[in-house]
Amino acid sequence: METPDSIQLEAVKRSKGLEWLMTVDHKRLGVMYICSGLFFFVVAGIMASLIRIQLAVPQNDFLPPDTFNRMFTMHGTSMVFLVGMPIIAGMANFLVPLMVGTRDMALPRLNAFGFWIFLFGGCLLYYSYIGGPGLYGAGSAPDVGWFAYAPLTSKAFSRGHTVDYWALSLILTGIGSLATAANIIVTVFCLRCKGMTMFRLPLFVWMMLVTAFLMVLALPPLSAAQIMLLLDRFLGAGFFDTQEGGSAVIWQHFFWIFGHPEVYILIMPGFAVASEVIPVFSRKPIFGYPVMVAASIMITFISLGVWAHHMFTVGMTSVANVFFATSTLLIAIPTGIKIFNWLGTMWGGKIRFATPMLFCMGFLFQFLASGLTGVMLAIVPFDWQLSDSYFVVAHFHYVLVGGLLFTIFAAIYYWYPKVTGRMLSEKIGKMHFWIFVLGFNMTFGVQHILGILGMPRRIYTYDTDRGWDLWNMISSIGVIFQGIAILLFIYNILSSLRKGKEAGPDPWDAWTLEWATSSPPPSYNFAKLPEVKSRRPLWDEKHPDDPDWRHE
């Protein structure tokens, strides 16, 4: 435009906004997913802080008890479904087409549909804050825990519609996730660029593919259970109604048939990020690529058969206990293999301690800790002691925060230049890392001790004579550090958008195809679709004298 008058500019701006709303571009949808995820992350983080304030000192009454129940329910539900899942979907959306060398996801319209239905589901969940008991009484939300055990969710114990909102919104976000999963699978199988055989896929793509399979298998059972719950609540069916001969335990089975694979749906993308970042910052190709692929597939299969380790205290038969304990312990093998492979990649490498690498190294330590407590919890008598205690809370926060969130941070520091064309500040990034590591381990590390000292999870408050005071105080103080770190992070993201160093197409000197195009990539990704001959196409291009494919 040569002489743009202000009106025209205004129109252009507005249509830019509209363009985002109507977009079917995988990169924009990816960014929208991640931004919504980060938004819900802040909201759910605020609720977590409120929980920790309530628990900081004994006999506190900072929150009313029923509000407390709502806080931990909404915190857990949001973190899993509105933070973890969309950020994973966002990363996959942005990166998978670039990494396999194609122009978009296979089903772009379905992709956009998935995003919007997820966002609608998320809003619906939060709408329950105003759509309270009865109709439209303010100030309520689901208060039944993220696993919504029967019979708490029956009409008798949960009046009003909060549980209905919970079920409906998760069915909707589930449909969104299924759309993403199908899209990933079809894209990976059907749109790879020339030469990109399955065994040349970046490990990130492999693990997202495996995650997508888990979603396809594990999410429909949750929807089925929630449909049954809604039938119970609206039409008087008796699936989970013990008065009618229904079973509360079968809800637990159905929930965990979904719930356990879900935890792997959440951690596998963390593995995916680590598998890209660690080699690049160690200046070595990943150690044991085929083993990594095999381990991911093994994890997928085994994780479908271990759900009842969440139910040892229900009182199953000892045959069932032995079966589920054994299968759970088996899953530690492929998981352990992966850890060794990452270490093997770093071994002897020229490590660059940039922020993405720091977060991945933090991930290695913390995920190892959570794996070890996981193995402990899989020992049935041990679990009988510590189930539903703060030990379990510590275990899964080490996985979900120490594992998934740390790698999400790593991913954002690593790929932010690709998305925006600018670098994040390394200085703030390192501050973010160290303060967050400190706060995180303070908050959740001592929760192992609290659990062993017998503090049950989800209690509203406690007496002074239990020996829990000091640990709870430390745990709550850790939240302050985490909060500061998150504020630094948000500041970094926003300020670098304008002021960040120009990144150029390949700021980390990396090897996968997303770095072959400009930053940010044009809407068609690649002017000419690439053709690859090895697992590290950019290496080949940069080192024509010694390309990888000569050695494959």
């Binding site: 296979a106 089903l107 299924l178 999963a181 199908a182 699978i185 079809v186 199988f189 059907c190 749109l191 790879r192 020339k194 030469g195 396809v216 298998l217 594990a218 999410l219 429909p220 059972p221 929807s223 089925a224 259970a225 449909i227 049954m228 039938l231 119970d232 039409l235 008087g236 069916a237 008796g238 699936f239 009618e244 001969g245 229904g246 079973s247 079968i250 159905f254 048939i257 690439p530 053709e531 690859v532 001959k533 196409p537 080949d540 291009e541 024509p544 390309p547 494919w549």
Partner: protein, 198 residues
């Protein structure tokens, strides 16, 4: 990507990938199977656990005719598919239409069955039998109805000449879906009318 003199035998080979609609359809079918599995498991688990009547053996009669209709429609849809690939429009429309009619008959017979059950005092909130029967059979019936819509869509496209013979994929995908719905019926039939009654 690299210089041209490194062109290996590989880059001359043809680069073949699976077809996207087919892989997508397989995904959908796997999801649906996972969904049905939970309903089937719930049905199996609750067999014989109703606290009060009516019980399955008081009311349920195996829907033989409906089943024959639905299962034979899998055959007619294959015939239609073959006709389409032979570019035989008339035969395609004939068999596709018969498929639709067979499916519609199935739904009509299900409606009659449900009416009878309701008249005999079995509703979803009567007992566990009602609670599990209607959702499972209803979920399947819903899938048949969706299938009927899709079949009708293709039929209309064909008679208005909007379905050229090169567009074999949409027709093929809908027939895959239809086979899936039939296969599920075999499971539902076995669970509800055989295992559940005896």
């Amino acid at each position: 990507m690299s210089n041209s003199n490194t062109a290996t035998a590989e880059s001359q080979q043809e680069w073949k990938l699976p077809s996207a609609p087919k892989v997508g359809m397989i995904c959908l079918i796997v999801m649906e199977t996972a969904l049905f599995t939970i309903f089937v498991v719930a049905y199996l688990y609750y067999i014989g656990k109703s606290l009060n009547g009516p019980f399955p053996k008081d009311l349920l009669e195996a829907p033989i005719i409906a089943s024959i209709c639905l299962l034979s429609s899998s055959g007619t849809v294959i015939m239609a598919e073959r006709a389409f690939k032979r570019k035989d429009k008339a035969k395609f429309r004939l068999f596709w239409g018969i498929t639709w009619l067979l499916g519609a008959t199935f739904i009509a017979l299900t409606a009659v069955e449900w009416k009878g059950l309701l008249e005999n005092g079995l509703a979803i909130d009567t007992n566990l039998f009602g609670s599990t029967y209607y959702p499972l059979v209803g979920l399947h019936a819903t899938h048949v109805i969706i299938g009927l819509f899709l079949l009708a869509l293709i039929f209309i496209l064909s008679i208005t000449n909007h379905l050229p013979f090169e567009h074999v994929i949409p027709m093929e995908m809908i027939s895959w879906y239809w086979h899936f719905v039939d296969a599920i019926w075999i499971v539902v039939f076995t669970v509800v009318y055989i295992i559940g009654v005896y």
